[in-house]
């Protein structure tokens, strides 16, 4: 009886899930498997030859330019993640602990509005702010503080980091906020009652309990940042490519699909490995999650 009911339930569930599942299978899984296959094939003129090879991966791993671009992507994404999460934590803490409950929704709304406005225009506006004749430079020269426009603030890695840290801010705030909201406030009172200072209570109770949110926020920022195409293009002026730009060039401009596929697969693997290591390092915080 119980088994029959389970089977009926399983069947109903599988039937219901099949339309979105097949959609994801055809539009996502099949294409990703295709580039995985391509990455082991040989590039011919105007076509992909069906000959198995590891040369693409050899080239990806040995080419100095690939190494520079890959390292840059990882470093930029790492810095962006750290900066975004570190800046986001206090604001999430503020909204969760200091803002009156009925005003929390308004604060979240305020935080998310900039995120929903055109990503391209936001990125471009940072160029307007940081540029040679930009807001900062024209204001500073106008006020007579500097004579020559500052050139070190645009077309470099710093400006890419700043732009991305701005673009992904809400992604970091929301998971941390959710984790903070889940904390049982009586635990904090217990900590204080047992003689801990406020700082120690934060360090030994609040922070460990928030770590699942911090870990989620870090991954949510890190993963798309690595694959960002627009910001290096617009802010970096195309001179400071990241891995996404390189994949695009190989796939389309140079029409070397196998090498482009190998780059994409390597990037995905790098992201996956780093994410797993990151999760592993934080495993003691994640274990108690219900």
């Amino acid at each position: 009886m119980a088994r029959a009911r389970f089977d009926a339930e399983a069947r109903a569930g599988l039937t219901l899930i099949s339309p979105p599942f097949f959609y994801a299978l055809v539009i996502l899984a099949a294409p990703v498997l295709t580039i995985l296959t391509y990455s082991f094939l040989t590039d011919g003129y105007l076509e992909v030859l069906r000959e198995f090879t590891l040369d693409n991966y050899r080239e990806v791993l040995s080419d100095p330019i690939v190494r520079v671009v890959m390292t840059r992507s990882l470093v930029v994404a790492g810095i962006v993640t750290f900066a975004t999460v570190a800046l986001a934590f206090p604001i999430a803490y503020y909204v969760s602990f200091m803002v009156r409950p009925e005003r929390k929704a308004m604060w979240l709304f305020l935080i998310t509005i900039p995120f929903w406005t055109s990503y391209l225009i936001r990125v471009f506006l940072w160029k307007v702010i940081l540029g040679y004749n930009g807001v900062i430079n024209s204001s500073l020269t106008g006020l007579g503080i500097i004579d020559e426009p500052l050139t070190f603030i645009l077309y470099n890695v710093n400006s890419i980091v700043l732009t991305l840290a701005h673009a992904y801010a809400p992604f970091a705030i929301l998971p941390i906020f959710v984790a903070l909201e889940k904390i049982d406030r009586s635990l904090l009172e217990a900590g204080r009652d047992l003689g801990e200072s406020r700082a120690m209570t934060f360090w030994r109770v609040t922070l460990p309990l928030t770590m699942p949110g911090v870990v989620a926020a870090s991954l949510i920022v890190f993963i798309p940042t690595i694959g960002d195409y627009v910001t290096p293009e617009v802010i970096g002026g195309g001179k400071i490519p990241m891995i996404a730009n390189m994949i695009q060039v190989q796939m389309l401009a140079l029409d070397n699909r196998p090498l482009g596929s190998a780059l994409a697969v390597t990037a995905m693997l790098a992201v996956a490995v780093i994410s797993v290591i990151f999760l592993f390092l934080n495993r003691r915080f994640l274990r108690t999650r219900q």
Binding site: F6, A10, L16, P20, A105, L108, S139, R257
Partner: protein, 272 residues
């Protein structure tokens, strides 16, 4: 309360942080209504000419039509598929549930360039002509997980006994779903439609690679950023888009809260 006594510093930080978040967006209307052709301070004077030019721009209008077509189609598709997934994952236990849901939600954590490139390679390999349709395929895929996240909240807070009561009163599975469940999750459906619509409208990478020669709003904006002369019009366009997305978000938020109130939830959270 002792917790609130030490909040002054954090409050100042919170305001500074909001300023940082809004800094670029505040510039939009400044330059959109500025009569100068160069995007720099000091501002010249008040002018509506950039809005005029924007209105008369045929390519821009085509891009807008394309973007709206894509956004409507993919938000409807993503929400319909999302309803299936949210209903299945919140109501039923079935084998491989984690793996299947993981695959469906994967686009949330997969760099978009990977989605765009792999789909492009396959479509080109099959000889499919790139068009608005191919963009819709991609946008539906990436909007679906966000729709599911919202719809799952709506479905999981449903009281199951309401459906059982409907069965007991002689409704079939489908009519109970249509008459009881659907109205209760309707606010979630509307939020999902709005969020998917907004995601699609703003999505650049997939549209850039999969649209062929058709412009969409983001790809049109991208193509214009290289020309300094075109920037004021883009600022005007950006201003309109900001106002539009605030209105859409406010509508979405209203429906979400109304839905939460109806099922007895709190007003916090949302958009997650």
């Amino acid at each position: 309360m002792s917790i609130h006594s030490n909040g002054r510093g954090l409050q100042i930080y919170a305001v500074a942080y909001l300023l940082f978040l809004y800094a670029p967006i505040v510039l939009l209307p400044l330059f959109a209504f500025n009569s100068g052709t160069i995007i720099a301070f000091p501002l010249q004077g008040f002018s509506l000419q950039w809005f005029d030019e924007m209105w008369g721009n045929a390519t821009l209008r085509r891009a807008l039509t394309n973007s709206l077509t894509i956004a409507v189609a993919s938000s409807v598709l993503a929400t319909c598929l999302g309803i299936f997934a949210a209903r299945a994952s919140t109501r039923f236990e079935f084998p491989m549930k984690g793996g299947i849901m993981g695959l469906i939600m994967l686009p949330m954590v997969l760099p978009e360039i990977i989605v765009a490139m792999s789909l492009l390679v396959v479509l080109l390999g099959m000889g499919v002509q790139l068009s608005l349709l191919t963009v819709i395929l991609g946008h539906t895929l990436i909007a679906m997980p966000y729709g599911i996240a919202i719809l799952s909240t709506a479905f999981s807070s449903l009281d199951r006994s309401l459906e059982e009561a409907a069965y007991d009163l002689g409704e079939t599975k489908w009519s109970a779903f249509r008459l009881v469940t659907l109205p209760l999750v309707m606010p979630g459906i509307i939020s999902s439609l709005l969020i998917s619509f907004t995601i699609s409208l703003d999505e650049f990478i997939i549209a850039f690679f999969l649209a062929g020669n058709e412009p969409t709003l983001p790809t049109y904006i991208f193509s214009q950023l290289r020309f300094p002369r075109a920037i004021p019009v883009i600022m005007a366009l950006g201003t309109v888009l900001v106002v539009l997305s605030i209105v859409l978000l406010a509508i979405g938020e209203y429906f979400r809260r109304r839905g939460n109130a109806r099922i007895g939830g709190s007003a916090t959270g949302g958009l997650m």
